[in-house]
């Protein structure tokens, strides 16, 4: 319908009450659900991992109808994602939020599927994030922290081994599928 990165916004994005935190419990539950879905969809399509409450986030305002979310509303919707394990507060003051449109465990499975498909056995962290092999997949541009946690989960399961490279930020991984 409108705006950025050819993401198609649902019609209710132009519904003014969508941007006002609804006080009635039942109505709010539905509103929160719609916000959770939209945030996850949007972040996934835009490969966004961090939402900062204090910076502009395209979803949180609709200039066409001149409506935007209040700080409280943003916090409520993100907190709802956090409570479902689809997001995590990065800082104690709840100003930055890590969005997990795939859960860590799902990321692990996704990586395993990718490895099985491509036959890639040894690679570096940086190659996963920006290499040619992952181009065009969900892994391209993955948040480093998210990737490391997914790999560590695989390591615990004995499916991968993380090893240090020559420099501190050059780590490698060996998959044993």
């Amino acid at each position: 319908m409108q705006r950025p990165g050819d993401f198609k916004l649902p019609p209710f994005f132009s519904y003014p009450p969508y941007f006002t935190l609804q006080p009635v419990r039942e109505t709010r539950e539905k509103q929160v659900q719609l916000w959770k879905d939209l945030i996850l969809d949007y972040c996934r399509s835009q490969k966004m991992y961090i939402i900062s409450l204090e910076e502009d986030f395209p979803l949180f305002s609709n200039p066409k109808i001149e409506r935007s979310l209040s700080y409280e509303a943003k916090e409520v919707f993100l907190a709802a994602l956090v409570s479902e394990g689809r997001a995590e507060w990065i800082d104690k003051s709840h100003k930055k939020c890590l969005i997990l449109w795939l859960r860590i465990q799902d990321w692990g499975n996704y990586i395993l599927d990718f490895v099985k498909e491509t036959g890639l056995e040894v690679t570096t962290i940086e190659d996963i994030r920006s290499g040619i092999e992952t181009h065009g997949t969900e892994l391209a541009g993955i948040d480093r922290g998210v990737l490391m946690r997914a790999l560590k989960l695989l390591e615990q399961k004995g499916k991968a081994t993380i090893f240090k490279g020559t420099s501190a930020d050059d780590e490698g991984v060996k998959f044993s599928v």
Binding site: P11, F12, S14, P17, Q22, V24, T27, L34
Partner: protein, 443 residues
């Protein structure tokens, strides 16, 4: 025990909330919460028990509250009221030991010599079974008998005029008991009259007060005459005059409550009786206002009708809160916001919700939402009340709010219409669909 049994007395009309219906010019003088009426000499006459006793300028009304029925003893039939006494006053110890259920002998009694038609003389006793100042009651009774208000009223009100204001039009019941003309009781009454003249000096002191009251009466009669005139002229008047006449008539109709319940007359029964009178009074204006009225509006209306006998907001609130205990057609309602209203019991929110819902689904409202002012205009009520209705509808999930720099508005609730499984899916029918077509047309 039942009031119906005492058919030797004419029955009296009672309002839906249990207040006696007064006839034209009749004014309440005093109330006793609990009293009996016992015939002292004639065992064939059934006694009245456990009644609220209302003394008016015309009658003694025995109101049996549980059954909402009443019998009245016209003051005109009282030949002589004897001062209050206790049957066993010479022996207070005996009354202390006698069980209260056996008889009401230790209660103060006011014996009345009355005459029943055709010319039968009886002695009955008003037994005051509650804690009340009997002497004050007796004083008021004697005063009322002496004032002979019923004679004035009968002369002043033309036949068929049948008009009492604001308390509903009561049927002017036939007086089953008429003034005696001859016989022993006639002689007794003559004596009574000479005795009365001795108290003339005392009455002179009240002259000013009475003059004021009779002036007020004249005003009431004038208002009534004007109303009658307006009614008869209505048929042959032009359309443009109709409006002003209607206004005038409404004004005259609302001149007031002839006999407002006051602390002085009702005493301990003040709030209870006030509550009943209020219930009778508000029903019509509340129905006219669409079934609901803000408490402040009722306060103003009620006090205007009472004229000089103003009540305080606390009295009003207390009167309203007593409605739970009576079977009255109105109720007090408190909205979540704290706004208090009076509504008829038949008033249903569903009807209001239906109207709000259809208002919110008009194309313009779909696009821009509705404000309390819009709703007030459509529903024909005050904006403060309209806002309560909107908030109520929001609570029910019919509406949801939009708070923006433009103000506080309400939209029809679309959240229920959207499929959470597929947020991009739009059905080809329903409110959501209608809204989308209206909203996309706007941008």
């Amino acid at each position: 025990m039942s009031v119906a049994a005492a058919d030797w007395l004419p029955s009296a009309t009672v309002t839906a909330s249990g207040r006696p219906v007064l006839s034209a010019g009749e004014i309440e003088r005093h109330l006793l919460p609990l009293a009996d009426l016992e015939p002292e000499e004639n065992p064939r006459l059934a006694p009245l028990r456990g009644c609220l006793l209302a003394l008016t300028s015309h009658r003694l009304i025995f109101l049996h509250e549980p059954s909402l029925s009443a019998r009245a003893l016209p003051l005109a039939s009282i030949v002589h009221p004897y001062p209050p006494h206790r049957k066993n006053s010479h022996n207070p110890l005996r009354s202390l030991f006698s069980s209260s259920s056996s008889s009401s002998s230790h209660h103060p009694r006011i014996r009345l010599q009355i005459s029943l038609p055709p010319s039968r003389s009886e002695v009955v006793a008003v037994v005051v079974t509650c804690k009340a100042d009997v002497d004050v009651f007796y004083g008021r009774l004697v005063e009322a008998i002496r004032a002979r208000a019923w004679e004035v009223a009968a002369a002043a009100v033309p036949a068929g005029g049948g008009a009492s204001v604001a308390e509903g039009a009561p049927p002017r019941e036939d007086l089953a008991i008429r003034m005696p003309v001859v016989g022993v009781s006639g002689i007794l009454r003559k004596e009574q009259e000479t005795w009365e003249s001795a108290g003339q000096n005392l009455q002179d002191a009240f002259q000013d007060l009475n003059a004021l009251m009779s002036k007020a009466k004249e005003m009431m009669e004038l208002a009534e005459k004007m109303r009658q005139k307006l009614l008869t002229n209505q048929s042959n008047s032009g359309d443009e005059e109709m409006g002003s006449k209607q206004d005038m008539q409404d004004l005259l109709l609302s001149v007031g409550i002839v006999s407002p319940v006051t602390k002085e007359t009702a005493g301990a029964l003040y709030h209870q009786q006030l509550s009943r009178q209020l219930a009778d009074f508000v029903r019509v204006p509340v129905e006219r206002a669409g079934g609901m009225m803000a408490l402040v509006d009722v306060y103003c209306l009620f006090n205007r009708a009472r004229g000089t006998e103003l009540i305080s907001p606390e009295d009003l609130l207390q009167a309203c809160s007593l409605w739970d205990k009576f079977d009255v057609p109105v109720m007090l309602r408190k909205f979540d916001s704290g706004v208090k209203v009076i509504q008829t019991k038949t008033h249903s929110d569903d009807e209001v919700f239906a109207r709000i819902s259809s208002l919110a689904q008009k194309p313009d409202a779909l696009k821009k939402g509705i404000s309390p002012t819009d709703a007030a205009f459509t529903l024909g009520i005050a904006p403060a009340l309209a806002k309560e209705h909107l908030l109520n509808a929001e609570n029910k999930g019919l509406l949801c709010r939009d708070v923006s720099p433009d103000g506080f508005r309400f939209y029809i609730n679309l959240f229920n219409e959207i499929d959470p499984q597929n947020i991009y899916l739009t059905k080809t029918h329903g409110v959501y669909h209608t809204w989308i077509s209206v909203a996309t047309a706007a941008h």
